[in-house]
Symmetry: C2
Subunit: 339 residues, 2 copies
């Protein structure tokens, strides 16, 4: 029998240090920031955002990552987070692994757990609020200008492919290698592709360092993270900025292997254009790809440009056609949407 | 068919003003505080914290109130909040009423909704993160001193009684009057008592103004809010402060009518000593009841005193006996616990 006191003690032991003046254990936490605060909150719900048999360690990383990604998209420095965990009885045996992994991820991203609460629920529901410090010039979605180049921070399509692989029985093992449902029949190429796709879906890396670099560059204008798919998030960026965009299909980077090994799994085009949970940054800048890649110390990808006309077009094989937003309507489907 | 866009638009319309530099609509909100931040996060889960047929307007008030109560217990000034709402399809017809009531409550408490997210869930799950500004001297649980008087801010036992009344079919109507399951048989006294008990359970008032006043008084030392019951929260206060307490039963104020009209509903003694969700403030001070009541401009109740010996005793009819913490172990029962 696990008691509440044990659960709280597990949390306290896992998070011995804190950026807070007053951390876990009082009615509320006290935290002083060195800059205006940046706040975001995302909830992950069992059977909506993850499967009931999800590895609790990967789940812990992901619930933090999806929130830190939002901070990264503003160019903020993550500082702290709060956690609400509503758990069914059957999750209790996984609690220690969840908390241990969350503490590892928090340490890696240099954020402190400063509060939250534990409750019961039939469905595991994980809600994180992340707190960061704003840069002098935060990256807003509304700051794109006609003529800007449009960039994406990394190859796309892996999260959708990873989700499909999970549904087909693929898993990551303890060393985070991909295990096929029928190991004898999986090729080396399939396993290599599956690993990168599963990692992208299960433990997406928030673009915090890149976001901070971009916020420091005057040439970078608008930014958001690709949470609901390139086509949908680009539409949000365009709407907020009052402009349009032309995306050059040939330049949009797919996850390596997607068009070949991954083609049997997913519609590769749709995975790249419409797949959610990529947590890549989508941003605009009055700068060249090579300049920004040099400034970032890693590749970023120019995939099109912003236009004065409000239409969003996809240029492919020499012709242009409207790029519809195929992101989920979250209340016609089963996903989450930020306020 | 309700669309996501409609839901977000409902929220935006209901919250036209914001304390934030950047409010709803980007990846994260930006908010500058005039003092160190105070942060708390509480989740309410359907069938754990409220019944599935709960009035969405009362629910909206409560989810904000339970968070603001934590800020009040620190003496903080509430500024803003974030909301995560994981909803089943069947809650969508109640969404507008929920949001409207939340906006009214937010206006009354002068807090801005600055972010959050919407998601699907089988169980309605409401998670709020509240943000406030710390007073120069925040009220901690750990600051009680032996010799302090122990105070409670208002009569106790109403929340438990209200919960029992709900289970027996009592309701509040649209004008917040109590309606009995069998109206013909309910007396005027029963309806009057039921109304105050139901209001205490369904729309507890957070003690924000009182908390701020207490934080301004040097004589006030430790404080927390009674969320899990007087006996449990007093034990937390004593443990954090390294002292004990003697509670004078004759001085602990019960909700008027509890011992008479309410006696058929609940164990009145247990409702007062152990009943959770009161959200009264429990605090210690080197001051008299009359002084603090004058300073607060309303009654507060001296119910005992803090002792050097770590025991927590109840003095009743001339004899003293240990006062056990009968708060729920939240993972042996069905309640929530703060980190």
């Amino acid at each position: 029998m696990t008691s509440e006191r044990d659960l709280l003690e597990t949390i306290r032991r896992a998070f011995p240090e804190s950026a807070a003046t007053l951390g876990i254990g009082d009615d509320a936490a006290i935290l002083e920031l060195a800059a205006p605060g940046v706040y975001t909150k995302d909830v992950l719900v069992e059977e909506v955002d993850f499967f009931a048999d999800a590895d609790p360690r990967l789940l812990a990383e992901k619930c933090l990552a999806v929130n830190l990604s939002d901070l990264g998209a503003m160019g903020a420095r993550p500082v702290a987070f709060l956690l609400s965990l509503a758990m069914p009885e059957r999750f209790l045996p996984s609690f220690d692994a969840f908390v241990g992994s969350l503490a590892d991820a928090a340490r890696r991203h240099r954020v402190s757990l400063i509060g939250g609460d534990l409750s019961r629920s039939a469905q595991l529901t994980i809600c994180v609020t992340a707190i960061g410090e704003a840069p002098p010039r935060p990256l807003l979605r509304s700051a794109a200008r006609p003529g800007d180049r449009l960039f994406v921070s990394r190859p796309l399509g892996g999260a959708s492919a990873g989700f499909e692989l999970l549904k087909r029985g693929w898993r990551l093992d303890d060393s985070r290698s991909a295990v096929a449902p029928d190991p004898a029949r999986a090729s080396f190429e399939q396993r290599a592709f599956a690993q990168s796709a599963l990692l992208q879906h299960l433990t997406p890396e928030p673009e915090i360092a890149l976001g901070r670099t971009l916020a420091s560059l005057e040439s970078v204008h608008a930014c958001l993270d690709v949470s609901d798919g390139l086509s949908t998030d680009l539409a949000r960026l365009c709407e907020a900025s009052g402009c349009g965009a032309i995306v050059d299909w040939e330049r949009v980077p797919p996850l390596p292997g997607l068009a070949t090994v991954g083609a049997g799994l997913v519609n590769a085009d749709a995975a790249v254009l419409d797949g959610g949970e990529e947590f890549a940054l989508l941003f605009t800048a009055d700068a060249r790809e090579s300049e920004l890649s040099t400034a970032a110390g890693r590749p970023v990808y120019a995939i099109g440009r912003m236009t004065k006309e409000p239409a969003i077009l996809l240029e492919r094989a020499g012709s242009r056609a409207p790029l519809p937003s195929r992101g989920f309507d979250h209340f016609a489907s089963a996903d989450a949407t930020a306020l």
